[in-house]
């Protein structure tokens, strides 16, 4: 489109007007840089949300017993509600069509010792299905199974960090640990995406825990999963029916806010996803506003550049520059600078995003792996270049149309 000679002339002009070049380039590079980092941060925020909720299965209800606040059917208020094994089987029978799996959970803290090492850990007495609800990933050995439940075996599945702290690199499978005064055999080691705390848990069969605690049949909480095919609406309906069923069974008033609690992960997830999406929209909006102000910035600089060069344009015209040549040289100078600095800003932004992602950012600012899709970054950069070109074209065109005598008189 342009001859080598024209490019050389443009390039020389750029080289010899460093301040002007710097001003234009800096505006563009800064605009793109801010866009890329902001947008990347938005994505990082979204990642954090995804991670928070990706840790557990999303089709899960956590059911907690509470304390009644309203007298009902002859029972006084302030009665403690407790779940027992029978409740598990009753729910299974009643909702077999909707239920995917169910597991109790009894949480106790215990001093755990192996040889000379000991520390306090949280133990969770659970059923086999608990593995799916927590998305526990077995690194070695196995999880608790039905036979353990029936046999009330003293088997323990320990977290990665428990193994690391107590066994110091020694093989843990098959070894015996003291768990709150009872000896348990380690049968598995797990990891969990939910973070370090999750990996400091120890899982044991819930029946074993009940046996230790004077052969009780009480349960702390019930974790159950619905069949995913019933969908979001189905899950909400299931939650309502389950709530009614348990209230009826435990004589809790339907109006009582505290007798029983059901935490619906699907509902939480949906709300949080919406929150994250709104946040992402706001951040994208700001990012695009930055691009727009970048475009306005370039237009202003172009107007300024043309103004500053009016006399020069007059001289060039007197020497035989056609309007088209004048427009082209101004325009291509701007395109050249915008393109180079746009991509420089973009690359710096991407590099900075890569550098800042890390533990502090993740823990303190909820930003995980900030990144920007290369398509988005390139699109924004090209948008800025194209709009900058159009914005530059108008003053360039006007400059080219000035009568040489008028341009020459400019001081």
């Amino acid at each position: 489109m342009l001859s080598r000679d024209t490019w050389k002339e443009i390039f020389e002009t750029i080289q010899k007007n460093k301040l002007r070049t710097f001003l234009t380039g800096f505006t563009v590079a800064l605009g793109i840089f801010i866009f890329v980092t902001l947008f990347g941060m938005g994505n990082g925020l979204n990642n954090t949300f995804a991670k928070f909720f990706g840790d557990d299965a999303t089709n899960v209800f956590f059911v907690f017993p509470g304390r009644t606040t309203i007298p009902y059917k002859g029972y006084k208020a302030n009665r403690r509600i407790e779940f027992e094994n029978k409740d598990l089987t009753d729910i299974e029978d009643k909702f077999s069509m909707l239920l995917e799996y169910i597991s109790p959970r009894i949480t106790r803290n215990a001093l755990v010792t192996y040889n000379d090492e000991s520390d306090n850990y949280s133990t969770r007495a659970v059923g086999p299905a608990h593995q799916f609800a927590e998305k526990t990933i077995l690194m070695k050995g196995r999880y608790i199974n039905e036979n353990d439940i029936k046999g009330k075996t003293k088997y323990a599945v320990i977290g990665r960090l428990v193994e690391q702290d107590l066994f110091k690199g020694e093989e843990s499978i098959g070894k015996f640990i003291d768990l709150g005064g009872s000896v348990f055999k380690v049968i598995g080691v797990f990891q969990d995406d939910g973070g370090d705390n999750e990996e400091r848990n120890i899982y044991i069969p819930f029946t074993t825990r009940q046996l230790i605690e004077k052969n009780t049949d009480k349960i702390d909480q019930i974790i159950l999963a619905f069949r995913p095919e019933i969908g979001y609406a189905g899950a909400m309906a299931f939650e309502g029916k389950l709530d009614a069923f348990l209230r009826d069974k435990k004589f809790i008033s339907p109006e009582d806010p505290n007798g029983i609690f059901i935490r619906n992960v699907a509902d939480n997830l949906k709300q949080n996803q919406q929150f994250a999406a709104v946040l992402q929209i706001i951040i994208s909006g700001i990012a695009f506003a930055v691009i727009i102000s970048g475009i306005i910035g370039i237009s202003n600089i172009m107007v300024f550049v043309v103004k500053e060069r009016t006399k020069e344009i007059g001289i060039r015209k007197a020497l035989g520059a056609t309007p088209r040549k004048v427009t082209n040289s101004i325009l291509f100078e701007s395109i050249f600078i915008t393109t180079i600095s746009g991509f420089v800003g973009m690359i710096i932004g991407v590099v900075v995003l890569g550098q800042i992602g890390g533990k502090t950012l993740e823990d303190d600012y909820f930003i995980t792996n900030p990144y920007i899709a290369s398509g988005t970054a390139v699109f924004a950069t090209i948008l800025l270049i194209v709009c900058g070109t159009i914005a530059g074209y108008i003053p360039a065109r006007r400059a080219a149309k000035i009568k040489p005598i008028v341009a020459l008189r400019d001081e």
Partner: protein
């Protein structure tokens, strides 16, 4: 070479209009060296700018080297200026970020002369104005006289049919003025047509013909015995 008939030009300022040129008739042959004189505001620059196609007349005829100059588009005017005309201004009008050589090469760039040839040619013309060793200097590093000589080299590099100079010595002291006039005379000796606007009588006497503008018309047009500037140059 130049032929103008009944040229009129007025400037509009708000509701007023200032009639500057009121029917100029003028012609000159190739190889002439014409001084245009007149008091300040008499319209000398206006006339020269019209001749240079930097400005347009309101009415009248203008023929340059047999080509009628009328209703030109900006592009066409630019091409004619590039091919036919060289300009020398009172304030030099060099491009400040370009070296002397690059300034001289600029009209050649617009003539699409290849880069290498451009450099050779501009060095040749800088040599002729005695500034070859200043080729890489910026205008800010040159004296007024040197700047004007660069401007003359630039005007000559395009090998124009007519050289138009608006008070080329206006910003220079008399010694430097004579150096510049010496250069202009030498260029004229080679057969180039030159029009010089001046209000200094000694400069006008160094031309071959002097015309006087007054109240928008030419009131005097006489041939003069040319005073050579070389005798005043060291």
């Amino acid at each position: 070479m130049i032929e103008i008939k009944d040229l009129h030009k007025s400037y509009k300022m708000g509701s007023n209009s200032l009639h500057v040129l009121k029917g100029i008739n003028f012609s000159c042959e190739a190889g002439e060296l014409v001084a245009i004189m007149g008091s300040s505001g008499s319209g000398k620059s206006t006339l020269l700018n019209i001749l240079g196609m930097l400005d347009e007349a309101d009415s009248g005829e203008y023929t340059l080297d047999g080509v009628p100059i009328k209703d030109l588009s900006e592009t066409k005017a630019a091409n004619y200026r590039n091919k036919f005309l060289g300009f020398v201004f009172q304030s030099f009008n060099l491009i400040n970020y370009k070296s002397a050589m690059e300034n001289v090469a600029l009209p050649l760039y617009y003539q699409r002369v290849p880069r290498k040839e451009r450099q050779e040619k501009s060095l040749k013309y800088l040599e002729r104005v005695g500034l070859r060793e200043w080729a890489t200097h910026l205008p800010s590093e040159l004296s007024g006289g040197q700047k004007q000589r660069v401007a003359i080299a630039r005007a000559m590099a395009a090998e124009p049919k007519v050289l138009l100079a608006d008070e080329p010595t206006g910003a220079l002291d008399s010694t430097t003025s004579y150096e510049v006039m010496d250069l202009i005379q030498k260029i004229n000796d080679e057969g180039n047509t030159i029009l010089v606007v001046t209000h200094e009588p000694d400069i006008a006497e160094m031309c071959k013909r002097v015309i006087h503008l007054k109240d928008g018309v030419i009131v005097e047009d006489k041939k003069v015995e040319q005073v050579r500037a070389s005798q005043y140059v060291k």
